[in-house]
C-alpha cells in the first residue's frame, strides 16, 4: 500500500487551513441593484451563534441583528476586488444575500405560516432566489412640494446597507429593552420616532428652492431634526412611495403553500430567526 504523506498542523496553521477551506464553501449571490452576481462565503458556526444571540436580544430595535449581519457580509464578501461596492448595496440587496446564505446552509427552511392553525412547513428558498433575479431596484425619485413660494424637493432612494448601519449606530446607540417600556406614552413615542427615522433613511437629499441642503453629509440626529420640520404633506408622499416599494419587495419575499385545501401566504422576515430555522 502506498504510504500517505500527511502533514500534522499546529494550532495556528490549523486555524488558517480551516479559514482557507471555509472559503471553498461559497455561494454566488444576485445583487439586484448592481444587476450582477457577487461571491460570498457561507456563514460559519460562530456567525450562526451570533445570529442566535441577536434573536435572544430583547431590544425594541433591530440594531444587533443589523450590525451582526453587516459584519457577516463584510467578512464573507469574497469578491475582494469589488469590496468598495459592498457599502453601496441596498437593503433589498441585503435581503437577497441573506436568503442565499440561508439557502446554502440548509435545503429547507422551517416557516410558520399560521400560528393559530399551527401551520409550520419546511420550504425551499430557491423560488425567492429566482424571483430576486427579476427584481428591479427602484430608481431614485424626486418629490416636490410648493408652499407659499417655498419649493421643497426631496430625492428618495432605497437606503444602502452603509446608511442603515450609520442610522443604527447614531440613533440606537443606547439599547432599549422591551422591559424598559413603562407605559403607552413611551410606546407611542417609540413608534413615532421609528416612523420619522425610517422615513429619514429613504431621503437621500433635500433641496429648498433648488438649494442643496447637503443632507447626505450630515449625521442622522440632524437629519431627523430637519425631517421633523418638513410639511406633513410631503412626508405623506414619501410614505406612499416607500410603501409602494415595500409592497414590491414583499412580493419577492412572499411564499405560498397549500394545506388542507387552504392557501397560506407568508412574507419572509429577514431577521435573525431566519438563520436559525
Amino acid at each position: 500500500m502506498e504510504q500517505e504523506n500527511v502533514n500534522i498542523l499546529n494550532f495556528d496553521d490549523a486555524l488558517r487551513a480551516l479559514d482557507t477551506i471555509s472559503e471553498v464553501f461559497s455561494v454566488n449571490v444576485w445583487i439586484p441593484s448592481k444587476k450582477k452576481e457577487y461571491l460570498f462565503k457561507e456563514i460559519d458556526a460562530k456567525q450562526q451563534k451570533t445570529m442566535l444571540s441577536s434573536a435572544m436580544n430583547s431590544s425594541v430595535y433591530n440594531t444587533t441583528f443589523i450590525k451582526n449581519l453587516y459584519e457577516i457580509l463584510n467578512s464573507n464578501f469574497l469578491d475582494k476586488e469589488n469590496i468598495k461596492d459592498l457599502k453601496d448595496f441596498t437593503i433589498y440587496d441585503k435581503f437577497s444575500i441573506a436568503i442565499s446564505l440561508k439557502d446554502k446552509t440548509s435545503e429547507e427552511t422551517s416557516i410558520t405560516f399560521d400560528e393559530t392553525d399551527n401551520i409550520v412547513k419546511k420550504v425551499s428558498l430557491n423560488p425567492i432566489i429566482e424571483k430576486f433575479k427579476t427584481f428591479e431596484t427602484p430608481e431614485n425619485q424626486f418629490l416636490e412640494f410648493d408652499n407659499q413660494n417655498i419649493k421643497v424637493k426631496l430625492e428618495i432612494s432605497v437606503p444602502t446597507i452603509g446608511k442603515e448601519l450609520e442610522y443604527e449606530e447614531q440613533i440606537h446607540k443606547k439599547e432599549k429593552k422591551v422591559d424598559d417600556i413603562k407605559n403607552n406614552d413611551e410606546i407611542q413615542q417609540i413608534i413615532s420616532e421609528a416612523f420619522i427615522g425610517e422615513t429619514t433613511k429613504y431621503i437621500k437629499n433635500i433641496y429648498i428652492n433648488e438649494n442643496d441642503l447637503n443632507f447626505q453629509n450630515v449625521d442622522f440626529i440632524k437629519k431627523i431634526k430637519l425631517v421633523e420640520k418638513l410639511p406633513s404633506g410631503i412626508l405623506q408622499k414619501v410614505l406612499q412611495l416607500v410603501s409602494k416599494w415595500k409592497a414590491e419587495i414583499d412580493s419577492i419575499l412572499t411564499i405560498s403553500i397549500e394545506e388542507n385545501g387552504k392557501t397560506y401566504t407568508k412574507v419572509l422576515n429577514i431577521d435573525s430567526i431566519l438563520f436559525l430555522n
Binding site: V6, A14, L18, I21, F25, I43, T105
Partner: protein, 330 residues
Amino acid sequence: MTDMFLYRTDFPFSDKVINFKELNTKNQLDIEKINLYYPQSPEFYLDYHENFFKIIKECVENKEDFEKLNIIEYVLFCLKLRIVSIGNIIEFNMKSDREDVENIKIKINLSDIMQNLVNLSINALKEHYVYEEDKELLITLGYPPIQSVGYLYESMLSDKHMGEKVLDSLPFFIKNIKIKNDVIDFDGYSYQQRLKAYETFPVSIKDKVEKLLINCITKLSEENIFNIEHFKDQKFNFYNLFFIDFLRIFFSQSPKSVYEEIYILSNFHVNSDYVMNISPSERKVFISFIKAQQKTKESNDDTISNDMENRRNSRAVEDLAVEFGDIPPN
C-alpha cells in the same frame, strides 16, 4: 522491584495499545480511602475522578497514551483492570420490590458489560465521518477524551438547558480533520482551541456534524448497558458523568475486609511490603492457602489427640489384661 506490565489491551476507537499491571493492595486501599472520603454526590465527582484516575494511571506503563483515551475507552480499560485484578463477577444486595422478600442478590458479569459497552458505542457512532469529496475535506468524529471530564463537570453543574449542554460540548467529539494532506489533530487541544476551530466550520458542515453526533448521543442514552432490570435507568450519559459513579461501585470493597486480609497475611509472616504490591486476586490465593493450612492443622491436631487418646486407651487395656492374666489384644 521493577514493575512488570504484563498485560496489554487495545481499544475499539483508537490505535493505542495500553500496557498495564494489576491493581495492587495499596492501589485498592487508596481507592477505598477516596470512596470513604468523597461523598457520592455530583459536586464531588471531579475531585473523586481526578484521584481515581491518578490511582488507575499507576497501573499503566505508557501513561501519555493512556491520558489520550476517550471516556468510553477509559471506562473499558477500568473494567478490564477490575477483571484482571479482582475478578469479573460482582454481587450486589439490592432492596427487593416484593413484599415477601427483603433483599435480592444481583450478580453482574463485568465481561458482559464490557461487551455491551463496546457494541453500543460502536453502533451509536457507526457514521463517524463527514466527507466532502470535491473539497477533499474529511472530518473524523469520536467520543470526548478523558481530559474533557473537567469541562463536562462544569457543564453538569451549570444552569444551562440540556440542549445547550449537548451543543456546546460537540467540539469535544471532533477527533481530527483532514484537508488534502494536512491533518488537524484535535487530541491535545483545549476546549477553547477546539471551539475556535469548530466555529470556523461552514454551517452546512457543522449541521452534518451536529446531526451525526446528536444521533449518537441519543442512541447512547437510550440503550441499557447492564441488561438488568434493576439498572434499566442507568444509561451512558456524558452530561451527568454517570460513569464516575459506575466505576466507583465496581471498584468499591469494604476496607475492613482488605485490612483484615493484610492482618492475616502479616500474622503468617508474609512481608507487608510484598502484601502491598500484590493484587487482590493474589491476596485471595494466599488467604486461601492460609485457610487450607489452618484446616489441615486443625485436622492434624485432631488426629494427634485422637492417637494419644487411643494410645492411652490401649495402654490401659493392656495393663488391665495383664492384671487379669490375659493376653492383651493387638
